[in-house]
Subunit: 433 residues, 2 copies
Amino acid sequence: MTTPMTAERSARAIDDIPAYCLDLAVRARAAGRRLARLSGQRRDAALLAIADRLIAAESAILKANALDLAAARQAGLAQPMIERLTLDGSRIAKMAEGVRQIAAQIDPVGRIIEGSVLPNGLKLSKVRVPIGVVLFIYESRPNVTSDAAALCIKSGNAIILRGGKEAAHSNQALVTVIRDAMAEAGLDPDVVGFVATPDRAAVGELLKLEGRIDVVIPRGGESLIRAVTAQSRIPVIKHYTGNCHIYVDRRCDHDMAEAICINAKTQRPSVCNAVETILVHREHAETGLLARLCQGLSDAGVEIRGDERTLNAFPQARAATEADWDTEYLDLVVAMAVVDDFDAAVEHINAHGSCHTDAIVTSDYEAAEHFIRDVDSADVFVNCSTRFSDGGEYGLGAEIGISTDRLHARGPMGAMDLTTYKWVVRGNGQIRT
Amino acid sequence: MTTPMTAERSARAIDDIPAYCLDLAVRARAAGRRLARLSGQRRDAALLAIADRLIAAESAILKANALDLAAARQAGLAQPMIERLTLDGSRIAKMAEGVRQIAAQIDPVGRIIEGSVLPNGLKLSKVRVPIGVVLFIYESRPNVTSDAAALCIKSGNAIILRGGKEAAHSNQALVTVIRDAMAEAGLDPDVVGFVATPDRAAVGELLKLEGRIDVVIPRGGESLIRAVTAQSRIPVIKHYTGNCHIYVDRRCDHDMAEAICINAKTQRPSVCNAVETILVHREHAETGLLARLCQGLSDAGVEIRGDERTLNAFPQARAATEADWDTEYLDLVVAMAVVDDFDAAVEHINAHGSCHTDAIVTSDYEAAEHFIRDVDSADVFVNCSTRFSDGGEYGLGAEIGISTDRLHARGPMGAMDLTTYKWVVRGNGQIRT
């Protein structure tokens, strides 16, 4: 599976990590510059070639994945970790489908954000361009490899992939497939660079390459992101955790409220867009909805940590402590509190939330619009599950992460968010007086 | 001129800098949240009130400015510095006019960047929202005070202003006018905070307030920007210097080329969008344009540092060294080189430029379009002077700076660039399966 080029790289890695990393970045810059000059059609054709090759290379990919799985079992990795690491025919098909969906997106490169003719006749436009070279540092799930590479190719960026060591064989196999497909489509394979050494020093070296790498996107646990941010001289787009809320407003459809709360908590509790705290308007102590929500969640296997008024309505709940309002459980546990009114709910969310995804369930027009305006989060939802906060669900094909930063990109980041812009001014001899 | 509130603050500043800075940030956050809820009409009305008060308070502002000027002369500041510091009736009128122009802009808050209805009926939109709290650190020119405050009010952000100590009295007077006008217009004056102590420790304290301040914009010399970036835990949008280029292509209007080169170099040589290197296609050694450009620049008082081929055409020029290609002179000096072709020009610009503003003079359609595509700069110009790289010229009313970063904002930053976005999803009960 290993091409001569990647073999040569791995060999060099052992000798001289700084030189190896510099070489990766220099190749990525050159390849990225060439990629940015190609038409969207050429980039999309390469993506389709990658999708086809992923399917065709299934057995080689699964062989590499088996090596990672064997090592993981030997190392005694927990079952959920092994589950995340595991590839099979259907997962590879999904990866290929994701790449095809990214190919089908609108080309973000060259899109005009705004434009005007200035009084002196200058024609001004603000045009999307690739960011340049993206360093992507991620953990365990190998399917992220093709998502990230595809989003960068789509947006005209070069990418340097640094995956978790647990998935080293799988990632190497996937990158080889991607690079071979690019070469076949006439694109420079160095658009997709791969850090082919498990040596942690490589990350430190790469994070020093300000000016050669334009942005770092770490995706994984909070400790990874904090470590990268502390070390990096390059701008980092951070993807911290999600302490997501649902506020069940005074006027709402009770069935809808119950369905949304249970879905947001239980459909996949281990991910960042699962709900962690449910706030319920005080009138629902009387309407019975509070008890009904608790019962429904409890029946679905959820542990409830409630404030005093929640405990009054549902004595089986455990008493919440102050820490519960700030905790991302990533598990079948939910914090529940009764709030006096809309303002108290918004205040609680802005004080305790992580500005990730927060939802209101309401049938009140004003409450919906004010919630959208006042909740300071990347993703603000009305009458739907927080679980929709996702690049695939938003129609972006995939996501390179869900930004909890405020600058450049917020929430699920697709190909469009991997671009920046340049101002283009066309004149016919204008000088400034 | 000093209101009781600012007087109280100054007093506290002397005692406890960390507490003073925290208080500034907390007030700014609360005021910013309230500002973001107001209609654009209310924000614009406050801007017009500020413009009116600036005119009405002319004598008080000039009195404060006189104190700064007296101190500057006593300290022996250089004449250009004193010139930058000086306010007069006409400059104050221009400041007021800038604020009015900002008020006249389209409201960036709430603008929908994109939106769609997803297959499951969810209505998705990406909506512009204020960034939050901006810390603006700037040097000497007091007119920047009203520009920055007005851009932040327009975009729904709170701002904390930290000006240079040379302009302390002028800035205090201007901030008082702005805050009084806001109070009069029914807005919270704490939207415009002011660091009323010259103590440098205040900057260090403010740069620690991650989560309370959302972005830092330093505007001034490179050393200021480097110091802020090194210290800050908050994202910084950097405004480094401009090593701007003009490439005079093979096919071009010679008169236009001469006019643009002379204008870009001499109209205001001390600023970041003045041209620093001129590249000329080799054929112009024969067409005579190379010698003509040199003569014209020389006649305009510009010192020319040329490569060998430039010296052949214009022996009076001084020989350039390698360092000249990387130097931002900010003076009546220009580096000149002859390039073999279009590609060599682009390569030179991408290698030596600072990704600020670069221009081509050409009558060749392909060359123009390829220059726009291939030059990796924030501002790419065809057939006009680099001096147009400016928020006012772009019709943004003013600029809070000219970003040389790649993420979030590039080039002149107006009110639109002081926003981020949130994803809004409106549903009617959707859950994820």
